[in-house]
């Protein structure tokens, strides 16, 4: 029986080694969080995806920008998107978007909102902003909901901050923090190649 036990031990060690990888960063500044409870030190760590590619995002992006859950996103689609006053924006790159997105979403990659993009005025114009070259008016701008990969995708918050810097009113921007990750995790359907 000795060889069998040894084999089992070696196999388990080989297959299990990836599970023992070191913990990954939670945010840009923190790899772990600790707190004490009843005098005992408790630590929160993270496995798998790590910062800076996948930093866990706060619930609130900026003052005045509401954060939505799935039912609120669906209500937004039924109301604002249906009557033509709202846009659900997927900020992932087109290759990711084409593999599946929230039904009704429009693909506008986060990088296009950046102030370095020389074509951003054209983009804002397409979003209903008038007078983009001189004095922008956001009166007829669409109310928008932005989402990215998920709770650990910084692209959507970055896009929201870029829009706020461009003067887009915070009251017209909302953030679906769960993103495509939460949407699929709870079994909601995706639309492919829209």
């Amino acid at each position: 029986m000795v060889p069998v036990n040894r084999t089992v031990a070696v196999t388990v060690a080989c297959l299990g080694s990836p599970l023992l990888a070191q913990s990954s960063a939670i945010t840009e500044t923190a790899r772990t969080f600790s707190f004490s409870m009843h005098g005992e030190e408790v630590t929160i760590t993270r496995r798998g995806a790590s910062c800076p590619n996948s930093c866990v995002q706060p619930m609130s992006v900026a003052p005045g920008v509401a954060t939505l859950g799935e039912l609120e996103v669906i209500a937004f689609l039924q109301n604002a998107v249906s009557n033509g006053s709202g846009l659900l924006i997927d900020v992932r790159m087109p290759t990711s978007f084409s593999t599946g997105a929230v039904p009704g979403a429009v693909n506008v990659p986060a990088a296009t909102f950046a102030p370095e993009n020389p074509y951003r005025p054209d983009l804002l114009s397409a979003m209903g902003v008038t007078g983009v070259d001189s004095t922008p008016s956001f009166a007829s701008a669409f109310s928008i909901v932005l989402y990215g990969r998920g709770t650990d995708d910084k692209d959507a918050p970055n896009a929201i901050n870029s829009l706020l810097d461009a003067g887009y009113p915070a009251g017209k921007i909302q953030y679906y923090r769960g993103g495509i990750s939460d949407w699929t995790q709870i079994g909601l359907n995706l639309s492919v190649g829209q």
Binding site: A49, P94, S98, T112, D122, L123, T184
Partner: protein, 203 residues
């Protein structure tokens, strides 16, 4: 009895060893979630499990969506990015604008319409901004024909003229195009409605 135990142990060991090798080979060959499976650009992507998992539910998605009042049939196709290099910011932006126009108006902007790349380039060249497609304007013709302005405060538009070219010819400054347009809003609703044969007032 001891011999039988030993044989059983060896068989188990062999089976486990084979299974392990087979699994390793399968993973090496197929490499699920490897970046080379993703078409197009090598952009930072989410981990494999997150993208791959929802694909089971994806197959039925279009059928579910069709009855929801949102039409996807006339939405333009994604612009196909060159697979060798990352698409430029210009292509990405105008792809996004096309998506936005499709979503808001039901159709993608035709070339030359507001929202299209052509329209943007034309607007920029009228405004005198350097773009990727318009090289630096040469000031030479101005010195050759400086008298036009003094002769008349009107300009007869010839075929091929644009507000930019007129401003360049008359004032030596393409940036005056917007001034010319503002002076002639009574006959032109938009800068691009300039036609040969029109007589524009010069500011």
């Amino acid at each position: 009895m001891k011999h039988t135990q030993k044989t059983t142990g060896l068989i188990r060991m062999a089976i486990m060893g084979t299974a392990f090798v087979a699994l390793t080979v399968v993973l090496l060959v197929f490499q699920p979630g490897s970046p080379r499976h993703a078409s197009g650009t090598a952009l930072p992507e989410t981990s494999v499990t997150r993208v791959a998992a929802p694909l089971e539910s994806v197959v039925t998605a279009p059928a579910d969506v069709s009855g929801s009042g949102v039409s996807f049939t006339d939405v333009a196709q994604q612009p196909v990015a060159p697979s060798s290099a990352a698409p430029s910011m210009r292509d990405i932006t105008f792809g996004a604008i096309s998506n936005l126009k499709s979503a808001t108006t039901g159709k993608a902007p035709a070339p030359g319409e507001p929202g299209s790349l052509l329209h943007s380039v034309v607007q920029r060249s009228i405004a005198g901004e350097p773009t990727q497609t318009s090289p630096v304007v040469q000031p030479e013709p101005v010195a050759a024909k400086p008298a036009r302005k003094s002769v008349s405060d009107k300009y007869f538009v010839r075929p091929g003229d644009t507000l930019g070219s007129i401003a360049q010819e008359v004032y030596g400054d393409a940036g005056m195009a917007s001034e010319i347009f503002l002076k002639n809003t009574n006959i032109m609703s938009r800068p691009e409605s300039l036609r040969a044969g029109m007589i524009v007032d010069l500011p």
